[in-house]
Symmetry: C2
Subunit: 148 residues, 2 copies
Amino acid sequence: MNVEQIIKTEKEIPLESRTIIHFMLVNNRINEKISSVLKPYEVSLQQFNVLRILRGQNGKPANLSTLNERMVTKMSNTTRLVDKLILKGFVNRITCPSNRRKVEINITSEGKKALIKMDTAMKTAEKKILKNLSKKELDQLNGLFNKF
Amino acid sequence: MNVEQIIKTEKEIPLESRTIIHFMLVNNRINEKISSVLKPYEVSLQQFNVLRILRGQNGKPANLSTLNERMVTKMSNTTRLVDKLILKGFVNRITCPSNRRKVEINITSEGKKALIKMDTAMKTAEKKILKNLSKKELDQLNGLFNKF
DNA sequence: AATATACATTTGTATATACAATTGTTGTAT
DNA sequence: ATACAACAATTGTATATACAAATGTATATT
């Protein structure tokens, strides 16, 4: 059953509820697709996001609070998320000498290499997911997202 | 840090990737909001969806496959999701006598009563989430969602 | 009728996530 | 200097989720 069909069965539901259900259904679909693309690389979507954030730091180390903020998820995950990435050798973690409450997290060169491979796969997947949307429509969508 | 800020830090990322990140960030935000609204009623978002699907059946019982299809999630969850709802007395499950492979799942009157309370809370939350979007924009959004 | 195949659900297990409580560190007020 | 609050990260625990395998049932094949 595709998304449109599911929504159709709920026509009696007011527009607001329908929009939110619709939103989540599409999101789930995207999630499944993206996760399956990342699977061969043995990183979860969250781990992938952490790696991208770290690369975006351009060498500047990140601490857990920053990662957490950017991910819009709970702190509790972040420690263990980073643990997993350390096990894979994709990031390293050192306690900040000036402020020992903080830790500094960096992407390793191995992490960067892995990320480059994932990027290519992701790019293909993203194009496929968005293949029915024109550039104009993508802009429109992003504009609407900004209203949330 | 709000969604727009997070996206801004990723400006170097191509439009497709940005759109998908944006999508997920907004979705997470909606999820958190909705979950916190449902919390007092001690049902998860998934459980709430099951209840709504069952009510939408208008007395016609649903089987697990149907529920699973409508939820766009994995079957593995559905059995245990229904288990939880049974424990709460919100649904019941009987094995179909004509075809014992199937089970019939129905919402109970208690489940309906609970759902009505949740509906009100959800409606308020949904309005709040979508407060910056006009009816026209909601339609536009749903139109774009259909292209996924 | 016996066996194989497909189907619907359940169970097992490993991993992920949410939430609360704890630990260790720094800054501040007395 | 000591005590206290604020902060950053970690740990514990319970629950949720994903994926694979198993169970039980119906249908098809020979």
